[in-house]
Amino acid sequence: MFGDLGSAILYIFQPWPLFFLVLGTWLGIFVGAIPGLTGGMLISLCIPLTFYMDSTMALVLMVAMYVGSVSGGLISAMLLRMPGTPSSLMTTFDGHPMAARGEAHRALSLGIGASVAGGMIAGLFLVLLSPPLSKWALQFGPWEYFTMVLMAIVLIATLSQGSLFKGLLAGFLGMMFAMPGFNDSDGQLRLTFGFTELSAGFQLLPMLLGIFVMSQVIKDALEIDRQPVPVKLTGKRKPIGWAGWRRHVPNILRSSVIGTWIGILPGVGASVSAMVAYGVAKNVSDTPEKFGTGCEEGIVASEASNNANVGGALIPLITMGIPGSPIDAILLSALIMHNIQPGPMLFLTNGDFVWALIAAYLVANVLMFFTMRYSVGLLAKVVTVDRAVLLPLIFVCCVVGAFALSNRIFDVWVVVAFGIVGFVMERAKVPLGPFVIGFVLAPLFETELRAGLQTSGSFMGLFTRPIATAFFVAAIAMLFWPAVQAWRHRGRPVTGGVDTTMD
């Protein structure tokens, strides 16, 4: 295991992989730092360019972007009180008050340090858990995969803040949009409504570009006047030192483990782990009343957990082919487009590739730390870049990306249509994460259900498989858990939720 990892790290330090790693990390931080631009947007936009690249380098680039974008969000969260990415929302509550009272350098240093610590702790779990989990997943048959997809959709719907029904709606709507085109088993054309272009169904990339990019462009146009005034980075930067970090060690470890495990849960993104870790840190703190007023513990909890989530979310992706978060769904799509089938066989068939991916994740975290540590002044200027200049450029990138896929303008219309669908969903507070997960997992859902029915003869075959039964029971329990909780807490005041629609 460690020999493979060592070889992969040596590979990463070769000129081209290192170049893409540095580029991806920097672009990720840059995009993450600008409010309104997200990692999902960046990775979706870069997929068409990676068609011309070696698969390993393409994924190295995208993993670096993922790490960078989750980390970059803390800059605008602290300096603008506007999270650059949804996952850094909790960082705003304490990061901005701390920056506003003249401790911006310290707040940023805490956030960056906690991010790298969270990322590396999750990296340890990624290295240690992926091979055995992959071996365990080799026992999975159709019913196990079918119930796991079901569980992933229910789980992400349940954990999406706001209405459970809207989370479920998004998941099943995503699945529905994956249905048009040829049916695999009999070649029957279905749900095309006369559009011959839909014979192969909606392609993944235009859908991703529409949902993640175009919808955000429309949203940014709607909120074009919401340009916040940044807090200036004044005063001398003083290193925190071991004495300063020592009291945060338990918080970092706890939040990183929370982030990793929530990341492992299929479909749940970094913002949920940041919320949970922040809540736990507040509950166990000696001074919970200071949370929300510029408390260091809040920053550390949020940033350690959201970065740890990235590593945790890669575990189900690599070992089972189930995305751990909406951005992992994009990575899954990229893998499929590069003819790499993620799942338990990946370690056996493409072991070098998997270890390169893990090594890229680890090195990207270190790179992210140094990039943010030494360019925070520059990034602080970048966060207020004029969106009137940026948005047209982003949409043109969408157009060429979608068009280049199959040389047809129909795919560009798909981008526009899904962009409007995504925008409407966001306005109606329907989360976009479950939609993408549903779309990506629907073919697996149908194929495995069909295979299960063919082997067992009936749906009851599911209950002859213990793991599948456990997944199924877990999915049902998660579906009804919010109702049980609501019943138990009836009469108590309801607290406001946090929007995680774009996570």
Binding site: S185, L222, E223, R226, W413, G497
Partner: protein, 165 residues
């Protein structure tokens, strides 16, 4: 968004979902029965459509039973700036026009992109001179730059027919 406004939005959303699900059910109903496997082409889409209809009903029922939050969701002070629905609609219209002129072969990629970037950038910046100069430079750079990159390096022909190609 206030509660009655949210309820109206949700009602509109659910009606659209029901109409969409009905269209899916109607289309799936006309598909042939399963031949080579127990599922066939129609069962999964029909099951999802029915689930969507039930979820829509769930949204409406949960809205009826909903209690208002005692503690509002955290917000930031940047939210104070007003929304600009006209600019958002203009952005959508310009985008549709951009893709439309390329679809109808009225303009090629370079000319359409040049106009699109200037048009959208101009609307977003309210044609402020300070922003228009970088937007114009960007428009020229990306319309010609992407055209060259895709044609000469990646060997992908972007839409090139039409006037001013």
């Amino acid at each position: 968004m206030s509660s009655p406004a949210r309820d109206r939005t949700d009602l509109a959303l659910v009606l659209v979902i029901w109409a969409f699900s009905a269209a899916i059910l109607w289309s799936a109903w006309h598909l042939p029965p399963p031949r080579y496997d127990p599922l066939g082409p129609a069962r999964v889409p029909m099951a999802i459509a029915i689930t969507l209809i039930l979820i829509g009903a769930g949204i409406l029922i949960s809205n009826r039973l909903r209690r208002e939050p005692a503690v509002p969701a955290p917000s930031d002070d940047t939210r104070a700036a007003p929304l600009q629905p006209r600019i958002a609609f203009a952005a959508i219209a310009i985008t549709v026009a951009y893709v439309g002129v390329m679809t109808l072969d009225i303009l090629g990629f370079r000319a359409a992109t040049l106009l699109f970037v200037i048009g959208l950038g101009g609307v977003l910046s309210r044609f402020a001179r300070r922003s228009m100069i970088p937007i114009a430079i960007l428009a020229i750079a990306i319309s010609f730059g992407f055209s060259w990159l895709f044609a000469e390096v990646l060997f992908v022909d972007l839409p090139y027919r039409g006037f001013l190609r």
